[in-house]
Amino acid sequence: MDRRIYGLENEYGIICTPERRGGKALSIQNAVMYLFREIISGRMYPDVFLENGARFYQDIGCHPEYATPECDNVIELLTHDKAGERIIERLSTTAEKKMRFDGFFGKISVFKNNTDTPGNTYGCHENYLMDRRVSFRQLASQLIPFFVTRQVFTGAGKAIRTDRGKYVISQRAQHIREEISIATTTARGIINTRDEPHADREKYRRLHVIVGDSNMSEFATFLKVGTTAIVLRMIEDNFIRQRLALRNSVKAIQEISTDTTCSRNIELENGKRLTAVELQWQYFECAKHYFEQAESDSITDQVMERWEYTLKCLEVNPLLLDRELDWVIKKKLIETYVASRNLKWDSNDVLMLDLQYHNIRREGETKKTGLYYKLEQKDQVERMVTDEQVDKAMHLPPETTRAKFRGRFVKLANERKILCGVNWSYIQLYEPYQKLFLSTDPLKSEYEEASRMIYSI
């Protein structure tokens, strides 16, 4: 596919702690209710589409989840992913004020990560609209080695409580149990087979990727989605000829995650042994070859350039990427702090730092803001989008996909208090008569009949 729809869903972790010692903490359930209170305005369920086309709702396990609107380029997707963080930050500040009004003096902390302290996991799901004609077997076999190894640049890192200072590259890798699976809450697979395209089923499949980590780093999100999109395009065009199948993919994903030198060899089905970085080089070289004939664009060129740069650095020394990759940025920060304050690696402080790196709070008191954003404010991390772009995306949908149509409708419906049902692929008016407007092509931004209806209201 030349033009593709991308979407990112993030399930956030949340905790409400007393603002003063001896104060009362709120349960997660109640904290989430406060979080949604401003936005659901009278609706029964915490599940709403926003004027920027995104969906914000309470998902399984009481996680606030933000699903970006449909985007058709990676920079826009990244912008909307960050806009989601900003919206939730704003809602949590409002929620704290409301709580105070009700007599609870609590602090809401929201984390964009994938594991809690005892080891429960919640996900970051990537969505790619794909050509239905591709055989699933081929798709899975060519994607699995890519997904197993891309963690060397997509991983968000995690400090593990041992005295030897154990640190893993990926938060999610340790929760992957199968190669292919439909489950999202139990035996999670490297390939997830959920296929709800929210579009014309004959034409499209939605590839729902649950194997990745949530990223704070803009560079990591950009590279994660950008490289995956390139690999998908090559698979759709039947371009990949290399045999890269691994002997044991589930074991490999975990082994790669535990080796922060990125030099461990993984066994392929054909007996060869390659490192994760070498396997990524194979995909990269294939892509380079592919773009000798296939058409590229400026964003794809950027992805290729950064992919190459990242692999080169990973080969020399992963620590060179301490402005780019989450797992490296966080590792360096924790190590620096541990060394300067003479801490022990198995202390709670180390786990606290790990957690607070993912705290999405950017504004406000020093002790409330997240570590990633402290680094960003001091220009210690690489940026790919501007604050202005992100602010805009909090309110405005992408211009070139059906999110534009949905966003415009939601804004109007909120202003005029119109009774309606909104979903990814339809809008339904309840009054005065039940009228349904389908929008089954996510690549289309205008729906004539529905637009006339919107303007006639």
């Binding site: 809690d116 740069y309 080169k312 620096t336 709670n348 730092l353 020093t366």
Partner: protein, 66 residues
């Protein structure tokens, strides 16, 4: 153990941007600023850790999601 040849290959593979960096006064100054910034961040971490880490970390229990 890596052989010398491997080491050399790795050096040769070093990304262009990294090799291009030459020490100069301006960069040294930037380096100092960088470490001041980092020191400030480390101090701010002290503030974050004034909160009881043990209690916070132990209480950070979510239900499993998708």
């Amino acid at each position: 153990m890596r052989s010398e040849q491997q080491e050399k290959e790795q050096r040769d593979n070093k990304p262009q941007d990294i090799e291009d960096i030459q020490p100069d006064a301006e960069l040294a100054e930037q380096g100092e600023e960088l470490s001041e910034d980092l020191d400030q961040i480390l101090d701010e971490i002290d503030e974050i850790l004034e909160e009881d880490s043990e209690e916070f970390v132990e209480n950070y229990i979510q239900r499993g999601g998708q």
